[in-house]
């Protein structure tokens, strides 16, 4: 080491920094551990649900109506029953119909509102107000929507505790999210497309229908499906609206004023029944619910990937 300079006074290897480096290491450790908390919680949740459901989730569970007698759900007893096994079928179908109706309503309302805001709305106070309002609606607790559905649809509009009331309530609940995501998809359509269309003498509506919407629709669909996957798991709103828990037959899509049951409500009912075995039934129901949710998300991701590849 050369000695002609005052190198010695330099702390090149950072020995004075040793404490700080230790602190830094501890901090990274803490950050990493924190990241793991979320991941471990998710794994614990899934493992817990699946182990509780293990052995109780059968084909019969999917295709039979629910029962008051917990022994009816136990696959070991299937042979000895005078009725049939217990299951989730009417609630499963109820949930699917609920989502189908909600999809129809939100597709119309959500896309319509997004088109208005992106393509038509002038830059006025009213428009700003509508957009702020949408942002705030997205933060309203879902149980308040349930209260709204109860007062407005079930009572004021006399739909009763029906499939229709449930679907309308869920529609209002996810509408803000659908609108915002549809707006983003519309915004992603390049303006050059619109100009090309106007330049050929198309009217606004022709431009939207023939050029803007076809381009935006994959993105819009992705957003709607993701929102619907949130709706299908919502319990509080349909509970307030009055979803039933012991339905022998599923509701009919052709009769939207039928009483209905839905998976989250059925699971809630099972989860609070005291017999220990009902925990397994609830867990089996949860696995069905999560599977459907996963499928919906997978579809959304497929649509998005297909669409992105084209760009």
């Amino acid at each position: 080491m050369s000695t002609d300079t005052d190198t010695d006074s330099f702390d090149f290897d950072g020995s004075a920094l040793r404490r700080k480096r230790l602190l830094g290491k501890a901090f990274v450790g803490a950050c990493f551990a924190a990241t793991m908390v979320g991941i471990v919680a998710l794994i614990a949740l899934l493992v817990d649900v699946v182990t509780e459901a293990w052995g109780w989730l059968t084909w019969e569970f999917l295709t039979y109506p629910p029962s008051r007698f917990v022994e009816n759900y136990n696959p070991a007893n299937y042979g000895a029953l005078d009725t049939g096994p217990g299951g989730i079928y009417p609630a499963l179908i109820g949930s699917i119909y609920l989502i189908v109706l909600t999809a129809i309503f939100t597709l119309f309302l959500g896309v319509g509102a997004a088109i208005y805001l992106e393509e038509y709305a002038p830059d006025t106070r009213l428009t700003t107000f509508i957009e702020t309002n949408i942002a705030n609606l997205a933060g309203v607790p879902s149980i308040v929507y349930g209260l709204l559905g109860l007062a407005m649809f079930v009572r004021a509009l006399q739909t009763g505790s029906s499939l229709l009331a449930g679907a309308l309530t869920l529609t209002l609940l996810i509408l803000p999210i659908v609108i915002v995501s549809a707006q983003e998809s519309l915004r992603a359509v390049p303006d050059s497309m619109r100009r090309a269309s106007y330049g050929t003498g198309a009217t606004k509506w022709q431009t939207i229908r023939n050029v803007v919407l076809p381009e935006a629709i994959p993105g819009i669909m992705t957003g709607i499906i993701l929102s619907l996957s949130r709706a299908i798991g919502e319990t509080a709103p349909i509970l307030m609206v009055g979803a039933a828990t012991s339905m022998f037959a599923p509701p009919r899509l052709t009769q939207p004023t039928d009483a209905f049951s839905a998976m989250p409500m059925q699971i809630f009912d099972w989860a609070r029944l005291p017999e220990a075995d009902f925990q397994h039934v609830a867990a089996a129901g949860i696995v069905v619910l999560l599977t459907i949710l996963l499928l919906m998300n997978a579809v959304a991701i497929l649509i998005r990937n297909k669409y992105n590849r084209r760009r």
Binding site: P190, R194, R195, S197, Y198, T200, G201, T203
Partner: protein
């Protein structure tokens, strides 16, 4: 900002007849009154919010000719082009003062439907912008929205032929317009613009995004189109303007039309020194 010196002609006469009185002191140098004018601009001012982009433009654009608009960047060429088919309406902050006549009808009259106007005046943009549809549907688009869709098949073929691209795409009409090369895309856009048979075609630097080979194809095409259409073309390429246009309008910074005359006159013997400087590359 105020219109510096240029008078704004009031359009009290809203029947739409051209007020010839307007055509006086504000005409640019060397701008003779043209008798076969399709488009006549009278004291046209365009503002974006508070900024004035065009100052009292007076210009008579002749039928079945190629008129080139040249000038440095930001001088308002595109703005002027867009005010001819009222594409400026789509820009919220844009505002137009003064008159612009198309076959003697002031297109800024309240009763004019810009959509109907755009069906008479087609447009081609700087960057090729085919729709993400098949080649056939791209060309058919204008026909369909304009309700001219009997015999689409034939009209699409004719348009592609006139746009000098039919040979290249004849057996792939069903493939996406986006799969073509840039030059092909631009010719496709031209085909799309001419398919519904407009009278005037506006082109905003149609070749600036293209390579030299594609550019020369477009130039040839523009000259041919002038046989049937009135073409107004913006270009930043002076050689191009000299090659293909019959008339040239020179805009200079600030949104003023400085000289408008036969192309040969402008390039060989411009009246204004600033135009000469610009053309010889001394400035701009």
């Amino acid at each position: 900002m105020t219109a510096n010196g240029s008078q704004t002609v009031s359009t009290a006469d809203s029947s739409g007849a051209r007020s010839d009185a307007a055509m006086t002191d504000n005409a640019p140098l060397g701008s003779p009154r043209v008798d076969d004018a399709v488009i006549e601009s009278r004291d046209l001012d365009v503002f974006y919010g508070d900024d004035q982009a065009l100052h009292g433009i007076n210009m008579d654009i002749p039928e079945h000719k190629v008129t080139a608009l040249i000038g440095p960047s930001g001088c308002g060429k595109s703005t002027f082009l867009r005010s001819i088919n009222r594409m400026n309406d789509l820009i919220d902050i844009a505002r137009v003062d003064g008159d612009l006549y198309f076959h003697g009808k002031n297109i800024y009259d309240d009763d004019v439907d810009p959509v109907a106007l755009r069906r008479k005046i087609g447009m081609v943009f700087q960057k090729p912008n085919p729709f993400p549809k098949s080649i056939f549907d791209n060309v058919a688009y204008g026909l369909r929205v304009q309700g001219k869709d009997d015999d689409v098949e034939e009209q699409v073929h004719t348009a592609l032929e006139r746009a000098a691209i039919l040979d290249e795409v004849e057996d792939q009409l069903d493939s996406s317009g986006l799969d073509l090369s840039g030059g092909q895309q631009q010719r496709l856009c031209i085909a799309r613009a001419i398919a519904p048979d407009p009278e005037v075609i506006l082109m905003d630097e149609p070749a600036s995004a293209l390579d030299p080979v594609a550019t020369s194809k477009i130039e040839d095409l523009v000259e041919e189109l002038a046989e049937e259409y009135t073409v107004i073309i913006v270009t930043h390429n002076m050689q191009q303007a000299a090659r293909i246009s019959d008339k040239t309008a020179v805009f200079l910074t600030g949104g003023h039309l400085v000289e408008f005359d036969d192309t040969s006159k402008i390039f060989e013997n411009p009246e204004s020194d600033r135009v000469e400087d610009y053309i010889t590359g001394k400035f701009g």
